[in-house]
Symmetry: C2
Subunit: 254 residues, 2 copies
């Protein structure tokens, strides 16, 4: 039995954002599993079978990939960005823990990638240049009260905040609620960066303020970075502004 | 004047962890700047000039790179991991803000990479599978009281915590102090992952508990992930355990 499972991060989108290690795991796979739009980013290869699934079916997708690998196939499960950040790696671990004993002896490895917050931050300058956190605004798998508590704790302690899964058709109000919480704790002028499809054709980056953030359009493909009290905007003639958080923190400001 | 500056993330270490975009920025540079050990990871190219500097000289290094680009050169400044996470991108933005006006019109771009926490997390399973934060334990540029406050806030709010710059010869006690703070707020059994040189030859990954963490050796090349109350260890016969944080949070536990 030589089956194996690789959980691979595609990075922000274009092939130029993949690591060579990720490319190799895609090329050597006999079977590819993943959310349809992510699989569509991977170049077709003769003889390689593909199993696209909906983005709500993470547990079932992980089980199908584990089953195929246990049966002896070389399987690659693709994730957008990094598989370890609000993506497939945790779903696979959950299934291994609760699944058949044979899944625990399987050759499983996670291949990291450039997560969305790093891609958006790079395009904006260096907003994650000091301590930061990443919070998923999805309350499908955790109570909204936990999200509220984490947003408040992060803002009060001075973390820059990257918001994943900000909004969807099924979760229309959570992003507005998050901005309302943050607005009570941070200056209205706090820089906010909206990135959509960054690293892909048609990418969009908007730099605004916490005061204006609620009016900015966002969707499931958006990643939002809310600055800390230290985050700064550097205007540049003829170029987009740079948004960055200095490496130093002055005690008096916190 | 066609000068430009690219601030490039080398990822965890081996060439296989680079993105193609980063490879291209390294190949097209006329001049490379960086901390010596990072520059040493980049393949030599005829005609390309290299300027290695010490890791304490980030401001001076950024200024030298900006000057060279302003004078018309194609300059690449290398960073380990991702340039936006406790690395060179913020140092470059700081210098642009405080430097001559000509630096603001320069063609500057940041090329993201796989940050150390993503590489360590991938090797361990999915410890960053739910909300998490990244904190630098260096108190060179921020007061230690700020670090203490952020550690406590993160643990209390249930974030998984990635610790960057955990210890050095000049900062020998901060990591122990951090574990002491976290031990007062989290169960003694909380999983802790120590990664050193992950993604390079001789990498070392240790899974331990918060109770045992203070006895584990660490140095400047270490990245440490402290779990939340939800983080779990899955034992596997004949294989390293998987460490992961489930995607779901139960209200009763927080």
């Amino acid at each position: 039995m030589s089956g194996k499972l690789r959980v691979v991060g595609l990075g922000p989108g274009e092939p130029s954002g993949l690591t060579r290690e990720a490319e190799a795991a895609l090329a050597e796979a006999e079977m590819l599993y993943g959310y349809g739009p992510y699989l569509a980013r991977v170049a077709e290869k003769p003889g390689q079978r593909r199993h696209a699934s909906d983005n709500r079916e993470e547990g079932a997708r992980a089980r199908a990939a584990l089953d195929a690998a246990t049966a002896g196939a070389s399987v690659t499960l693709v994730s957008g960005g990094d598989p370890g950040v609000f993506a497939m790696a945790a779903a696979v671990c959950e299934q291994i823990e609760s699944g058949p004993e044979s899944w625990r002896s399987l050759d499983v490895a996670v291949i990291p990638g450039v997560s969305a917050m790093l891609a958006v931050a790079a395009r904006a300058g260096a907003p994650l240049g000091n301590d930061f956190c990443a919070i998923s605004l999805s309350d499908n798998l955790k109570p909204w009260t936990v999200v509220e508590r984490r947003l408040a704790a992060a803002a009060e302690a001075g973390f820059v905040i990257a918001l994943y899964n900000p909004i969807s058709r099924a979760r229309p109000w959570q992003l507005g609620a998050a901005f309302a919480i943050l607005s009570r704790l941070l200056p209205t002028t706090t820089p906010v960066v909206f990135g959509r499809g960054v690293g892909r054709a048609g990418e969009r980056l908007v730099v605004t303020s916490l005061e204006q953030a609620a009016t900015e359009p966002a969707d499931m493909a958006s990643l939002i970075i809310v600055g800390s009290m230290e985050t700064r905007i550097v205007s540049r003639a003829g170029r987009d502004p740079l948004v960055y958080t200095p490496r130093s923190v002055e005690e008096a400001r916190r």
